[in-house]
């Protein structure tokens, strides 16, 4: 997808561009929000607010820029705001409310979460599938092969290829955050 053209349509208020932007980065926004807020309902609220704020700020977005850091920054700010709102409502009566509520996860952790999810979305479906089976479900190669109904050799080659691609994309993370 031509991201520059997409952002131009998004800036012009094309409703279908909202769906396209969500398809590209919705999972990454949800991942950051879930990691930051640790609550499914709140995380989905954060996704809604992130796209709403992006929509409102789209006229100021320069079309030739990479939208990913811009969207990530909006998502992180939304999470901070929601976290503060939740803290206000859960502060025990009489307890002094902190002036600045800080997210329980670091900036680096959230940025890593964003980068990992974006990198995963750039892999093919079968590559993501084997990574989910091994990293998320904790399955061995043999167990993953049985679950996905593919030969063990295919699992191993897909995993190896997926890790190489991920490592290539994610090594940029250090350069960007340095």
């Amino acid at each position: 997808m031509d991201v520059e053209r997409l952002m131009g349509r998004f800036r012009d208020g094309d409703p279908e561009a909202v769906r396209d932007l969500y398809a590209l980065y919705g999972r990454a926004v949800l991942a950051v929000a879930t990691r930051a807020l640790r609550d499914r309902g709140l995380a989905e609220e954060a996704v809604q607010l992130t796209f709403l704020q992006a929509w409102r700020a789209a006229s100021r977005f320069e079309g030739d820029r990479d939208p990913r850091p811009w969207l990530y920054t909006i998502a992180r700010r939304v999470c901070v705001d929601l976290y503060r709102r939740e803290r206000r409502h859960t502060t025990v009566a009489g307890e002094e409310e902190p002036e600045v509520a800080v997210l329980p996860v670091s900036f680096e952790t959230l940025w890593e979460t964003w980068q990992v999810r974006v990198a995963l979305d750039e892999l093919s479906g079968p590559e993501r599938e084997v990574l989910a089976a091994t990293h998320y479900l904790g399955l061995t190669h043999e167990e993953a092969a049985r679950k996905l109904a593919i030969p063990v050799g295919t699992v191993k080659s897909r995993i190896h290829r997926a890790h190489r691609k991920l490592a290539e994309r994610l090594t940029h993370v250090r350069e960007e955050t340095a």
Partner: protein, 206 residues
């Protein structure tokens, strides 16, 4: 072994003598070891693998794009078909997903541009807040460049429960307690950077 291979193996958690030898002789990879191990932990985090609710995309589009409704009105046939699909799908979804009764519910009555319409608000209390299912009847889509916003209020302050733009059912979430904010109302807001209420109430509790 080259850097690409070593990094892939570090990310996979396949550290062995070969990888160790490469890392000990490659300052750049040695510098990235910690980062790759952290990435590996992130890959195992369920936050990374979570899938959004199926209707989240539609909720976002309905929330931020009154133009969707404008576009849909251009074809009355399409609009009628879409409305029927939404009503049928919405009713089926509600019947399937809502086996429990709402903890409380209220009806907001339209005035001004929303006169003749109502919005039924069903509230489902959760440990971290309240899920509000809004079912409008006869509510027109917000005019272009504006949207609806639901507010909870008491004598001293108001708090937003979220926004929506069309007359389709929508789900919002709020952490404020109803006993703290006993009154509810919907305003019409302009699309701008001002988060405060316009005070232009178009639906309120009778």
């Amino acid at each position: 072994m080259n850097c690409r291979e070593a990094r892939a193996r570090l990310l996979a958690g396949e550290e062995d003598v070969e990888v160790d030898q490469h890392v000990s002789s490659c300052p750049r990879c040695a510098e990235d070891v910690e980062q790759l191990v952290a990435m590996r932990a992130t890959l195992a985090d369920d936050a990374v693998w979570g899938e959004a609710s199926l209707d989240l995309e539609d909720q976002i589009v309905n929330l931020i794009s009154p133009a969707v409704a404008q576009t849909r009105r251009r074809s009355w046939r399409w609009a009628v078909a879409a409305a029927l699909i939404v009503v049928v799908a919405g009713s089926a979804a509600l019947l399937q997903s809502r086996t429990t009764q709402a903890d409380w519910q209220t009806v907001l009555v339209g005035e001004g541009i929303a006169v003749g319409s109502t919005v039924t608000v069903e509230a489902f209390e959760h440990s971290r807040g309240t899920e509000l299912v809004l079912t409008p009847t006869g509510l027109p889509a917000a005019p272009e460049g504006s949207y609806y916003e639901l507010w909870f209020a008491n004598d001293d302050s108001i708090v937003s429960a979220g926004t929506f733009a069309t007359g389709f059912p929508v789900t919002l979430y709020i952490a404020a307690l109803r006993e703290d904010y006993p009154r509810m109302g919907v305003t019409i807001e302009k699309v701008d950077d001002d988060p405060s209420s316009s005070r232009n109430v178009v639906l309120r509790q009778p």
